[in-house]
Symmetry: C2
Subunit: 225 residues, 2 copies
Amino acid sequence: MTSFYSEHSKVWLSVDCIIFGFDGNHLKLLIGRRQMDPGRGEWSLYGGFVRSDESVDDAAHRVLFELTGMRTLYMRQVGAFGSVDRDPGERVVSVAYYVLINVADYDDRLRQEYNLEWVRLDEMPQLYSDHNQMVQQAQKQMRLKLSTEPVAFRLLPSLFTLTQLQKLYEAVKGEELDKRNFRKRIKEMNFIEKTELIDKTGSKRGAALYRFNKRLYSESPNFKL
Amino acid sequence: MTSFYSEHSKVWLSVDCIIFGFDGNHLKLLIGRRQMDPGRGEWSLYGGFVRSDESVDDAAHRVLFELTGMRTLYMRQVGAFGSVDRDPGERVVSVAYYVLINVADYDDRLRQEYNLEWVRLDEMPQLYSDHNQMVQQAQKQMRLKLSTEPVAFRLLPSLFTLTQLQKLYEAVKGEELDKRNFRKRIKEMNFIEKTELIDKTGSKRGAALYRFNKRLYSESPNFKL
DNA sequence: TCAAAAGTGTTAGATTTACACCCATGA
DNA sequence: TCATGGGTGTAAATCTAACACTTTTGA
């Protein structure tokens, strides 16, 4: 092993995952009880250490695959958290990632196996170490992302009603939206396609199901909500 | 030394600084020739290793103080860069930071001593490793920041003319702005104060000098440019 | 038959954009 | 005196926000 940098000290590097979901009314966060010392038993984000043969992004994907069985998640880096004493035991620097998942695609047996809970973002308990800070930054970035890029669909089934979509945006923005104005904007974005299908679960009358057409979006990528 | 995590491997952690400046017409980047192997002699951002007794943010501040002699710089984290082979010699993960400095406050002797150059952002050469990527992300984040928060002043002298400010925004946005519309918006923000002072260096007639009033801004923080 | 969610347009107000001339001064 | 950058207002167009009723259908 060569060692150009051997005079400098190394640190442990971990990733922590902020897993966002949507239950139809509220944004949710998937958290668990920390399984290791120090901090065993505290509410915590799910994380893992970066191995020497994988990139930091890959580590986040690996950890999430373990947890969800899903590989093609929408994932973005929040940033590095590097206070000296953020981990009470050792010097560990952590890189946080947020992930958008459709709760319905997620195998609830995995949730139980790992002893995780979906908690409402606006009722988040105190978390281990600096995890609350990570969540706050992630939420801010996620909000901005959802208002400028068509990624909200990652939080919904591939077929969704406009009411579902609106409820999601209301949860993200933390304010009620006007139904007519909202639908007017959706109509302008022709990459949000109406299908022939009807969802009857949400109302007696039934609501049209829509889908996001990625190809159409790439042809005229103008999104704003 | 306890070792809760000793089964996991550690990595070297560095910080890299993207130093933005403005020369009155163009956004500039302060870069140098890499002083160490591997990659000696290539254009590179200025960086350094994170020590075990300092936070990652503190490491960035330390490195920048070394380089500029300035302590109260506007600095924001861009993110962590963690490809396995981003450093050709060893596994080094780096956290990038961007910094806004007023070129006039910067002691040019330091620049010469460290053998650094101001290069135009739109004429940036190829840099060592993934540094071009870092700069690109930093630029994107900086652009967003300048359009939503009053930090542009960090790139200007504390007294500045409206023409200077407009030129700066033109450089940041990469487009020309309408002088009358620009000044109209400035007038709405009463925390950008006109002083009695006149700058005669830029024109025969002289231009009024303005200053950013932080206190007034904190009383009604509404900024948009 | 009625409760509950789906669906649909118009208008006033606010914001944004385009645009051209006079002023003060040093060279 | 003239070239140079400083400084100023108005009107059209666009965008945003507010607002209420009809439809469908299962219980």
